[in-house]
């Protein structure tokens, strides 16, 4: 299909051709309902093949069924061209140097009002054009590593990102920001926490829950918070920087191994699980909430260990699960399985033979909890002990997604299951903590008078 008819299929396509009009034609269209004037827009590939889309002079789009059309006359032609305004990002020798690595998704963007297309802004000049405040904090350089949606991030991208971080650290940047889609940001944050160790500088992951083309977007503020953290904070860890409350008040810095996306659409979707976040950040200050973080250093002694075994799976247990789920993974050559078990870490008895078989095939099986909060505790019930005898290893309070990427990373390093176990159970970056603080589990319930009182007083 030629671009002149972008998105149009039969039978509409013939109607356009017969009348000698195409996409971007300004037309007067006679129909059985009267005359319609406007600009023919491209048709979405997923929309039906019955309608012609017109942009009216008042800015609205409408669809007219092709079967109503009597004739169309072209009175003009106006093709849209997109260009992002660039302004030179100011350089200030006195400011820290921050590198922004792009993985896909849009951190900042501008909007094409004619088509609604969102055009990503990514070069320092483009970013300066849309979020000029960034220049208050740092000198910015950017590099687009790849352009994939968050859900398409995988081992290949993780490894490349980790290697790119290593190179930047060697080059001497003062902080790194990674732009990332939010869906799998916590997977990437966790795996980078393992692949990049002993970083002397902050590594800050950031994204947005509301696209940056809308005035209420959280993108600009998240980016400002992330850049400030990368430039100024003394936290040399892999962190996720996203909205704390839904209000435009402050961001939270979450440790990469303890963070999880907890709501499909809220701005404040990222939460630290079973612990408290590292810090709060706003335009003016970074307020640490704890002191046990790794400090910024001036050396460049980072360890990059970017390996990953792809034959690892995560199994979310449900009542009535059959052993063939585990069997099929084993039969397909999987080397590691993370189970998200019920309660303290359980699966039903019929699965036991499959677990036994997995062990016989040298598959590493680890247990996490689907409650997300709390520890795996397999001694409390007889069933837990039985499972441990079958080789299932409890992973304390590691989050299921974190355990998954850690197991892939561990199996990427060695075939020796004892070594794998040692790697898995040795905390590297807070993925296992010795104690869960009392305020690490806060899911308040609405309706309770004191909670309502809190909501009335605290914007969130």
């Amino acid at each position: 299909m030629s671009d002149s008819y972008k998105g149009y299929r039969e039978p509409v396509l013939s109607v356009l051709k017969k009348n000698n009009v195409r996409v971007w034609s300004e037309v007067e269209m006679q129909t059985t309902r009267g005359e319609f004037k406007g600009l023919i827009l491209p048709r979405s590939e997923t929309a039906d093949a019955k309608h012609i889309v017109l942009k009216l002079i008042n800015g609205y789009n409408i669809g007219i069924a092709a079967e109503l059309v009597q004739s169309i006359r072209e009175v003009g032609y106006k093709e849209a061209h997109y260009q992002i305004p660039e302004k030179d990002f100011p350089v200030d020798e006195g400011k820290p140097n921050v590198k922004l690595l792009g993985t896909g998704g849009t951190i900042a963007s501008r909007l094409d009002y004619r088509t609604g297309a969102v055009i990503p802004a990514f070069s320092p000049g483009e970013l300066y054009g849309s979020v000029p405040e960034l220049a208050d904090y740092c000198n910015l350089e950017t590099e687009k590593l790849f352009g994939v949606f968050s859900e398409n991030m995988g081992p290949e991208q993780w490894i490349k990102t980790a290697e790119a971080i290593g190179e930047e650290i060697e080059k001497g940047v003062d902080g790194i920001v990674i732009g990332h889609g939010t869906d799998t940001m916590h997977h990437t944050a966790a795996v980078l926490s393992f692949m990049v160790q002993n970083s002397p500088i902050p590594i800050v992951m950031v994204g947005s829950q509301r696209s940056s083309d809308r005035p209420s977007s959280d993108a600009a503020l998240n980016l400002i918070h992330a850049v400030k953290t990368a430039a100024e904070s003394d936290m040399a860890e892999t962190m996720v920087c996203m909205f704390g409350p839904t209000s435009d008040q402050y961001g939270l810095l979450h440790r990469g191994t303890r963070v999880r996306k907890m709501h499909s659409s809220y701005r404040s979707t990222f939460r630290t699980i079973s612990d408290i976040p590292l810090a709060m950040v706003d335009r003016d200050k970074i307020t640490p909430l704890r002191q046990d973080y790794k400090r910024r250093r001036s050396d460049r002694n980072v360890n990059i260990n970017a390996v990953f075994e792809e034959k690892v799976s995560i199994v979310y247990y449900y009542p009535n699960m059959k052993p063939d789920i585990i069997d099929s993974l084993v039969d397909n050559g999987y080397r590691g399985i993370v189970i998200a078990g019920t309660g303290l870490g359980h699966v039903n008895k019929p699965v036991y033979p499959a677990l036994q078989r997995a062990r016989e095939h040298g598959v590493a099986v680890y247990m996490t909890v689907q409650t997300l909060w709390g520890y795996v505790q397999m001694y409390v019930y007889e069933t837990g002990r039985e499972m441990m005898q079958l080789g299932v290893v409890p992973t304390a309070n590691m989050l299921p997604e974190t355990a998954y990427v850690k197991l892939g990373w561990a199996l990427g390093q060695t075939d020796d299951l004892e070594k794998v176990k040692e790697i898995m159970l040795t905390p590297i970056s807070g993925e296992i903590t010795e104690r869960e603080p009392y305020n690490g589990y806060l899911v308040y319930q609405g309706g309770i008078p004191e909670v309502e009182e809190f909501l009335r007083q605290i914007k969130r």
Binding site: H51, R110, R456
Partner: protein, 647 residues
């Protein structure tokens, strides 16, 4: 400068006068629809809880880049204001959708059906597929920063004075928040109305006088109501009025709640534009153009340390603020030039300072042309020296935090320079004030603020759906009016009935109870009822069932019609203790026969009274007898018997 820049007084303006200044005016009429739920989520519609709120959410609106890579005019302005927007939310009327934390749900089909039917009533061409658009609003009145809106029809029309008034489009969109306050850098909104389905009817600017605009506005509201599917009551319908004169600019006056106010609003806006054109001419005469325009400013706080004029004294000593003086070169007399009744040009500047620099405490500026007693001549003279003012310059003092004052100085210069432009009327939205004048609200957004909503796919309106809706579409109001006229309904009741939510009930009652006069039914339902409501009686108790009961009995017992008024009034005043049916039965039982009437008449005739004429005698006796037998026998019978006696 003389006052030649003023139009004739409002009352004296003729259609010819308006034609001469090139008045053009159009309307955007917003009407809430009567649906159960909101437009893009499942929150209940029409649930207002003005004071109670459960939580507050804080947001900022950030401008997005427009096609040319520059921030849109409004966008930039709102960003300059650095407003904190606070939303007060009530759990019952608002969910996470309105707060922009959940994507939209499918559009409310009930609302879409009503909008399509309204479009049919107003002769629009219907679209075959709706596309949801986002219309940017950076004032925070919608938490997303845009309004989801779509159009269901274009090019409609309504009849008016033998002409067709063209309707550009009929939009279906979500309603916005209601502003609670806007003080300094904080604007507060209540969110209960947010997301309610409303239609927007946009007329072409073809009305010739301010009164015509009001007339057409009334027609649109009546026609909408006549469908019986829209909300009524305070705030359920709101108008924006667009006004321009030759050489001026299209100005949008927002939030007109009362149609009565429209003519004066238009007159005052025409006057303002007329004055701004005159001011431009005067500035040109003095050689001041956009290129030669000059201003200077100086921090004059130190000169005002000892002033006793309270606004500045408090600013300096209580709030530790600064005072700046802006010298507008060659502007002598311009600041005090009248622009609307009781308003001068400096109000244009004060308004901008209030909105854009967030200096909301009034007064927020003081000009060298003020005639009130303020800071005294000695101080003024020192300030004049400090800013090197010459005799033909005009000075403006402005005070506040140093950051806000900086914004204010820029804005004062921007607004003053705008007065010298070829078109000296800046594109703005202005707010309607109760005295018929208007004040600056925001810079008018450009057409670039519309873009497609990527959250929702286009939705086909099938021919079948249109056919089904067409069968159920309420009759056009003007067709109804013609029929009522034939029924003999008095002229002044035609529109109130035809546009009423009860029009269909009225017609079915007239048809069912064919022995009753339509005029009687009309007067009871639409004249007496209004009078009772004005008296403060709860006329909502006059339900369909009540009318049915009344007219069912009246249809077989004609005398009841004459007593209906008394019966209904007693019923309304009884606070629910008297059941209408019981009342009717009690009334119907003791009917009076002709013999009894004759006795009553004879008794009356026997009394000697000094009647002034035979007619007076007839009138008096008739009245006395009817008091005793009204509703129990037809008045016509009594009249005939009395005539027999008198002749």
């Amino acid at each position: 400068m003389t006052l030649s820049g003023l139009l004739k007084p409002f009352e004296e303006m003729t259609p010819e006068d308006y034609a001469e200044i090139g008045l053009r005016s159009g309307l955007e009429v917003h009407q809430q629809l009567l649906t159960d739920r909101k437009l893009f989520c499942r929150c209940p519609a029409g649930l207002y809880n003005t004071k109670e709120y459960d939580a507050e959410i804080l947001r900022h609106m950030r401008p997005t880049l427009s096609e040319l890579g520059e921030y849109d005019g409004t966008a930039l302005m709102e960003f300059k204001t650095r407003k904190e927007i606070i939303y007060r939310i009530n759990h019952q009327s608002v969910c996470t959708y309105e707060m922009d934390d959940t994507p939209p749900f499918e559009i409310n089909q009930q609302a879409l059906d009503i909008a399509l039917q309204l479009a049919m009533v107003m002769n629009y061409k219907l679209v075959s597929e709706i596309h949801i658009a986002r219309k940017q609003y950076l004032d925070g009145s919608i938490p997303t920063g845009f309004q989801r809106t779509t159009i269901v029809g274009i090019d409609g029309w309504l009849p008016y004075k033998g002409r067709k008034i063209g309707l550009v489009q009929l939009g279906l969109e979500e309603d916005s928040c209601r502003e609670v306050s806007d003080i300094g850098h904080e604007r507060i909104y209540i969110t209960d109305r947010l997301g309610m389905p409303i239609t927007e009817v946009v007329t072409e600017p073809v009305m010739r006088t301010p009164q015509e605009v009001a007339d057409v506005c009334n027609i649109i509201r009546y026609v909408s109501r006549s469908t019986g599917r829209v909300r009524t009551g305070l705030g359920a319908a709101r108008e924006d009025v667009n006004v321009s004169i030759a050489g001026g600019t299209r100005i949008e006056i927002k939030g007109v709640h009362r149609i009565k106010l429209i003519p004066r609003l238009i007159y005052h806006e025409a006057q303002r534009q007329y004055s701004l054109l005159k001011i431009r001419d005067e500035l040109r005469r003095r050689g001041i153009t956009p290129d030669t325009f000059q201003y200077e400013w100086v921090d004059v706080t130190s000169y005002l340390m000892h002033t006793t004029w309270e606004p500045i004294q408090r600013a300096i000593h209580k709030r530790q603020e600064m005072v700046a003086c802006v010298n507008l070169k060659g502007f002598l007399g311009i600041l005090s030039y009248p622009t609307q009744t009781g308003t001068v040009f400096s109000k244009e500047i004060s308004d901008r300072v209030r909105v854009i620099a967030c200096l909301t405490r009034q007064p927020n500026i003081l000009t060298s042309e003020s005639t009130e007693v303020t800071i005294g001549n000695v101080v003024w003279n020192r300030i004049r020296k400090a800013v090197r003012a010459q005799a033909n310059d005009a000075l403006i003092l402005v005070w506040g935090s140093s950051q806000d004052v900086k914004t204010a100085i820029d804005e004062i210069a921007i607004r003053a320079r705008e007065a010298t432009l070829d078109c000296p009327v800046p594109s703005e939205t202005r707010q309607a004030l109760d005295d018929g004048t208007n004040g600056f609200e925001r810079i008018l957004p450009g057409p670039e603020r519309m873009y497609p909503d990527t959250d929702l796919p286009p939705l086909e309106i099938t021919p079948q759906r249109i056919e089904n809706l067409a069968e159920d579409v309420p009759e056009q109001m003007w067709v109804r009016e013609d029929r009522y006229r034939e029924w003999g309904v008095p002229e002044h009741l035609l529109v109130p009935i035809a546009s009423s939510m009860q029009a269909e009930l009225f017609e079915s009652l007239v048809k069912t109870f064919n022995r009753l006069s339509p005029v009687r039914i009309a007067r009871l339902m639409f004249e007496k009822t209004v009078a009772w409501r004005r008296e403060g009686l709860d006329t909502s108790r006059l339900t369909e069932a009540v009318w049915q009961t009344l007219f069912t009995h009246a249809n077989t017992h004609p005398p009841l019609v004459e007593a209906a008024e008394t019966l209904l009034e007693t019923f309304l005043k009884s606070d629910g203790t008297v059941d209408l049916a019981t009342q009717i039965h009690a009334f119907l039982l003791p009917s009076i026969d002709e013999a009894t009437v004759k006795d009553l008449l004879q008794q009356e005739l026997a009394v000697e009274r000094p009647y002034t004429s035979p007619a007076a005698k007839h009138h008096f006796i008739m009245g006395n007898v009817m008091k005793q037998c009204r509703g129990k026998i037809a008045g016509a019978v009594v009249n005939q018997l009395l005539n027999e006696y008198l002749s």
